[in-house]
């Protein structure tokens, strides 16, 4: 009993770890850290190794012995990797902008305004969630092609420009605003537009950040859809371009390593600086679909 009291009284309360437990916990944490981070570091190390350093050795050096950035220049001479990065960025920017505007407007209308057909529309938005994207990818390509957008970046960006899940997430965010606040604005004669701008937007900034960040990462990381839409190597996005590099010049791992780092580093920096939004996004059910 005394033991229990002591535990409850402590600052950490129940389960404040003792020294033995702490050592065990940190040992396990470091082990998992090694498993998750070492493959990335190994790739980074390979990308920095000079042409005379043996990357294949059975006991290779983890730290580059002759560190150099020339692989990054070489990969750019082999494939237009900076153009690919720019292409990926263009697609991501269109997708982010479209979702920020389109999902916000529709989410607000579905959550706060009354109109005929709202229920039916909501049911249709919801029903798209049970359909994995791959099921409609062929007909989506047929649609994009009939618009004359096959093999274009716009064709890559367009279908994801307003994500159905994002509309529903924004609707949920607007619904969380207390009804009384909104009703007061209606009585004061505010138009829907004024209610959206002055009352709605300030209260959904968190969710808006979550959906824009996830839209950016989703577009930047996407592979199957751009692989289907794009044909001409000069239009490739970074993921498609990297696979192309891998298929064509698999002889030099240093170049592929440099290419993967060009794709990976911007995302890691974005993630590290905005990580609290990521965890919130997953917790709020922004389940990738």
């Amino acid at each position: 009993m005394a033991d229990l009291k002591r535990r409850r009284g402590g600052r950490g309360g129940f389960g404040a770890p003792g020294p033995g437990e702490l050592v065990l916990r940190y040992t396990l944490l470091l082990l998992v850290l090694a498993i998750t981070v070492l493959p990335f570091l190994w790739q980074l190390s390979t990308s920095l190794k000079g042409p005379y350093e043996d990357v294949f050795a059975q006991t290779p050096s983890f730290v580059p012995l002759q560190p150099t950035l020339e692989n990054y220049a070489k990969v750019a001479a082999t494939i237009p990797v900076w153009t690919y990065a720019l292409n990926s960025l263009i697609v991501a920017v269109i997708v982010v902008g479209g979702n920020a505007v389109g999902a916000t407007l529709a989410g607000f209308a579905l959550a706060r305004l009354e109109f005929r057909g709202a229920k039916l529309l909501l049911a249709l938005f919801l029903s798209t969630l049970v359909l994995p994207g791959e099921v409609t990818i062929i007909s989506q390509y047929v649609t994009v092609r009939s618009m004359g957008l096959a093999d274009t970046l716009l064709g890559v960006a367009l279908p994801g420009t307003i994500g159905m899940l994002n509309v529903l997430l924004m609707r949920t965010a607007f619904q969380a605003i207390p009804k009384e606040m909104d009703e007061a604005a209606v009585i004061d004669g505010a138009t829907p537009w004024q209610r959206l701008v002055h009352l709605g937007l300030p209260n959904v900034r968190g969710m808006l950040s979550v959906i824009t960040i996830f839209a950016f990462i989703g577009a930047w990381d996407d592979f199957l859809w751009p692989l289907i839409v794009l044909n001409d190597p000069k239009n490739f996005t970074l993921t498609v371009g990297l696979q192309y590099l891998n298929g064509t010049f698999s002889a030099n791992p240093r170049l592929i390593a440099a290419g993967t780092m060009i794709s990976f580093l911007p995302i890691v920096i974005l993630f590290a600086s905005l990580q609290r939004f990521f965890f919130r996004g997953v917790a709020e059910g922004a389940i990738k679909g």
């Binding site: 062929i138 993921t239 791992p253 890691v268 974005l270």
Partner: protein, 299 residues
């Protein structure tokens, strides 16, 4: 006093504004979701190809499925994928969440680091692992240096080794994602239950099974359905690890790889690809409906 808006005009505007706001999303709903869904259903009964319009061919595409040995291989791969991923990705991330739950110094760093593979694209992850698993890569090199292996294991050129390599990197990439889902669920497990169990003399292992696991049972169900659906949808990992070939004889393909294969080029066949898409729909709809129900319950 400003001039009052004519009532009729105001009412009209009130009726139209919601539609204006919802119009872009509704357009996207119909053009990129509803229409392609219906069109998949139609195309599946035609022999439409990238270079020709095609016409109605009845059940031909479905008859072709029955004789398609590549499809049998793909489905078998999917089953193996799912059977291995399900227990591993349901349990390991839970253990990891328990490990990072306690707020000890530096824990945010560890949580962030464990989540990093999730934000990397599947292509980047698969290229990193291609290099690690290649004949002259780190894993084969170290194994030989330590005398575990005599020669390199063909991780990327043997059908089953390819499938298991893809499973390994799927697990590696998925751990952090499911860990975060569990982490928010663990916050809801009542602390008194742990305390009571501790008073009764239950050790950490016992408490894990008798308090933590029952407390997050619904989340475990949610995670296992998510894992099952994503196993059935696997594409990039197998595609990149096999360099687009699907392994020796294309026997390490997945269903989505087959859909992609028929989406373009000389062998392109929108009709057959659509029939395969319907098959994907049929095998995923059960878990997807369950997922929708679980999500609504959680909300």
């Amino acid at each position: 006093m400003t001039a009052p808006v004519l009532p009729a005009q105001g009412a009209l505007r009130r009726r139209i504004t919601p539609w204006l706001l919802v119009a872009p999303a509704a357009l996207w709903l119909f053009v990129f979701n509803v229409w392609p869904s219906l069109n998949t259903l139609v195309l599946a009964f035609t022999n439409a190809k990238p270079l020709s319009g095609g016409h109605f061919t009845g059940l031909d595409n479905f008859g072709r499925m029955l004789d398609d040995t590549q499809l049998v291989d793909a489905l078998l791969n999917s089953i193996v994928f799912m059977v291995v991923c399900l227990p591993v990705l349901t349990l390991l991330p839970l253990l990891l969440a328990v490990l990072v739950e306690k707020k000890i110094p530096g824990i945010t760093f560890f949580r962030t680091a464990f989540y990093t593979p999730v934000v990397a694209s599947a292509v980047v992850v698969a290229l990193i692992w291609s290099w690690l698993l290649s004949d002259r890569g780190l894993i084969n090199g170290l194994a030989q240096a330590m005398g575990v292996l005599q020669g390199p294991l063909p991780f990327l050129t043997d059908r089953w080794l390819l499938v298991f390599s893809a499973i390994t990197l799927t697990v590696w990439k998925g751990l952090g994602y499911y860990m975060i889902i569990y982490l928010s669920a663990l916050g809801n497990v009542r602390r008194e239950l742990h305390e009571a169990a501790a008073v009764d003399g239950a050790g950490p292992v016992r408490r894990f099974w008798s308090v933590t696991v029952p407390g997050v049972r619904n989340t475990m169900l949610l995670v296992s359905v998510l894992v099952a659906v994503s196993a059935l949808r696997v594409f990039s990992e197998l595609f990149v690890l096999s360099n687009g070939t699907g392994g020796p004889g294309g026997r390490a393909m997945s269903l989505v790889m087959l859909i992609q294969l028929y989406s373009r080029g000389f062998y392109g066949h929108f009709g057959y690809a659509s029939a395969l898409s319907l098959l994907l729909f049929v095998i995923t709809i059960g878990p997807m409906l369950l997922l929708a129900r679980l999500n609504r319950k959680a909300a």
